[in-house]
Symmetry: none
Subunit: 210 residues, 2 copies
């Protein structure tokens, strides 16, 4: 498929590049893409000191896991560009077609909310935080393809409660603004499912300790 056979040197370069693009390729897939046998790929990996796919996956996974001190990846919407816990932060998100209302390319409000909410939780200076309430406005619709920059400021902090203000802009135009009340929770509270008010939570008597 790649037509002519490359030199070994070139193949090594291509290999490195392919793996950088997608570290989850197996030897078999690589062999197919480069038009050589699996064994050749193995030799190449050996020569270049590249680990096998399982290793690469595990490395990525554990990096993703450990890099989760400040809540970068997993369930955060938008890319956290900057975050100073307790002070403020910045998040970037590109409005994609999947986020839009039918026709018209208008981004659904909950995407903007999700980005802002993620950011607000991130800037709360606490290992675990939840949204308690929010007051939000969508002064202007955002559209597919636009770059949404959300900026958060912690307005005040009283004990375990943070008030965070988030404004999301496209260029200079605000498309979202809101105030979030974020509650910092300690482990016990979370684990027990009690939330601070109105007493019992699940009430199913599940107790785990370790």
């Amino acid at each position: 498929m790649t037509g002519k056979r490359l030199s070994k040197e070139q193949r090594h370069q291509t290999l490195l590049q392919k793996l950088e693009e997608n570290p989850l390729l197996t030897d078999e897939q690589l062999a197919k893409e480069l038009g050589v046998s699996i064994q050749t790929i193995r030799l190449d990996r050996l020569a270049l000191g590249l680990p096998e796919m399982k290793e690469r996956a595990k490395n990525l996974a554990s990096r993703a896991l450990s890099g989760e001190h400040y809540p970068a990846s997993l369930e955060v919407v938008g890319d956290l560009l900057y975050c100073e816990p307790g002070v403020g932060g910045l998040s970037r998100m590109v409005a994609e077609p999947g986020m839009s209302l039918t026709r018209y390319n208008v981004i659904r409000g909950h995407y903007l909310f999700a980005q802002a909410n993620s950011l607000a939780v991130a800037v709360a200076d606490a290992p675990h935080a939840l949204t308690g309430s929010a007051r939000v406005e969508f002064p202007h619709p955002a559209r597919v393809g636009e770059v949404l920059m959300a900026r958060a400021r912690v307005l005040e902090r009283r004990g375990r409660r943070f008030v965070v203000e988030v404004v999301t802009r496209v260029e200079e135009k605000a498309v979202f603004q809101g105030k979030f009340l974020i509650l910092a929770l300690d482990e016990r509270t979370l684990a027990e499912g009690i939330f601070g008010m109105e007493g019992k939570a699940t009430g199913d008597g599940r107790e785990k300790d370790d």
Copy 2:
């Protein structure tokens, strides 16, 4: 050495917890930690629908790679069970692991918002509607596996503005409540990107129609 043998139920819980803490554990390690045989762990994973370690690693890796942009699809959130435009509606959503905060299985606020927002827009009696603003509260955390029933009522309608109230419950307990101001838009307004207030919108002359 967890000492005494746990019940199956308890073991399942422990297993989930262990894997949440460290998804890269092999069956063998889990077996050792829980004091049962590997086969038992395999059966447990089968029963709980948990993939093998390689899969978990790959999933984590690819999620980390793709910057996990639109996560767990926020697009259509919840199943619309019933909807009477201009009056009210009902939406059901099962809280999935992908919606949760790491550890602790607490559902992120923006999923609740997304469900409620989707429903609020749906019950607005208009072909095209957008959220203008919202005031929301999360009186209680929701957890993975719970069934979230959102109920919407149109409180008032003035011209193109609807005020919709949404309350989401798990069993009888409210986990979300909010008021949405929904704006019904006509085709022209939407297509031109003008939103009702503050004059010009994008100003970049982008007009798309289909």
